[in-house]
Symmetry: none
Subunit: 224 residues, 2 copies
DNA sequence: CAATGATTCAATAGAGTCATTGAATGGAGA
DNA sequence: TCTCCATTCAATGACTCTATTGAATCATTG
């Protein structure tokens, strides 16, 4: 039952076979032609082709002194498309995570001070301070909860799902908030970072609070 | 590029991983729960789960002291469905071919002695004796050509295309003639089997010949 | 802060897969 | 009927994947 399905999948699990399939999707080819297309030895191409024929992906027939292979069914292309959609989305996530660490960090659309101020009044939003506890105690955004970045992974349950999270750290080009957002997103949270850090917030004359974070805080501070 | 796609496919190429996916499609589970569902050791289940998470099929998060795994994306189910459609259609074909070998053999419409006698007088027909050469020498149907089953595949060229072929062997429920007919049909011949075997033919008092087969016979004996 | 226990890591043996080589097959064309 | 050659087969070594074991990790829980 599942073995047959796994067999088909396993047959697709080889880059060169996929390449062959792409070529055959454009029309039937002889073994030799396929081998030339994908730069394989004839014997090797023959083996791949026969394997795929055995899995029901291809059919073959003779034409003169050549044996032509072709897709056995349009459903094969559907399966390929479905797989590539999964792979694509996954690799997009990978790119996003990797990128958020290295390259495209600003593509994560930071939240501006102004926007945060506005949303703090109405929306369901969690403000996350990822600085060390002492910095937090010295002063932080109103209603912010403090979870230093190093502890974030193990304290995710303290963060409410469903709402959006805005993370901030020391300044506009610091990495802590980036890392936090990347981590939270991989865990399924809706997270963004504050465009600037705490110093900028203070410099803008916006309200701030001081004091320690609620101990072993299971009580999330949440706007509204 | 294709490597990522192949990676996803390869990850799906294991029956137990597919089984795990089916379970997770019904809801998130902890590693232990998955292991119990599919009868695996915890460590082994953990490895499979992590592999699939790495391929982008699953996501995981902590809940209390358990780590829950779940499908990362509905597209995963689409891909599974597409694959199973391919596998299903293929297995249907396989069933049909296998069936002609094993189950539905009598659907191959055997030729009766009477019918063969009649057609030997007029039709373009080839009588094929697939018994070993010594049996053939001891006595065979008139105008029959002897090609033992084991040699049939490599001696197909000796059989004329265009006409119908009637194969027989030792008795009504012997497999040699079945196999011969199945083989000939896959190669594009019109082939049927004699309902009974040679003994029954003799017992019915019908004509028979004896002597060895024409050596390296390229001369096909053919009625009419 | 220590104990607990779920999960993961590490290492291993065994099985399976891949690509290459050289030889065999068997159908087509003359 | 004979020859040619596209394709397949067979066998090998390198490599990867799988399952098992036991130990390590790490977050929760009290």
């Amino acid at each position: 039952m599942l073995a047959g399905l796994a067999g088909v999948a396993k047959t697709l699990g080889h880059p060169q076979r996929l390449e062959i399939l792409e070529h055959l999707a454009q029309g039937e080819r002889s073994v030799e032609a396929v081998a030339a297309c994908v730069a394989l030895s004839t014997a090797n191409a023959s083996q791949h082709l026969r394997l795929m024929r055995g899995a029901g992906l291809l059919t073959s027939w003779r034409d003169g002194k050549h044996i032509l292979y072709g897709l056995s069914d349009p459903a094969v292309l559907n399966a390929l498309a479905a797989l590539s959609r999964v792979a694509e989305r996954h690799s997009a996530e990978v790119r996003e995570v990797i990128g958020s660490y290295l390259h495209v960090r600003d593509a994560l659309e930071p939240v501006t001070r102004k926007e945060l101020t506005r949303r703090l009044k109405g929306d369901l939003i969690t403000v996350l301070d990822v600085r060390p506890a002492d910095k937090y105690a010295a002063g932080h955004l109103p209603k912010a909860v403090n979870i230093p970045l190093r502890e974030l992974a193990r304290r995710l349950r303290e963060i409410p799902r469903g709402g959006e999270i805005v993370a901030y750290c020391r300044g506009p080009y610091r990495v802590l908030a980036f890392e936090a957002v990347a981590l939270l997103r991989t865990r399924g949270f809706k997270a963004r970072r504050l465009k600037d850090g705490y110093p900028e917030w203070r410099a803008a004359g916006l309200p701030a609070t001081s004091g320690t974070s609620p101990p072993a805080s299971r009580h999330i501070q949440r706007a509204q």
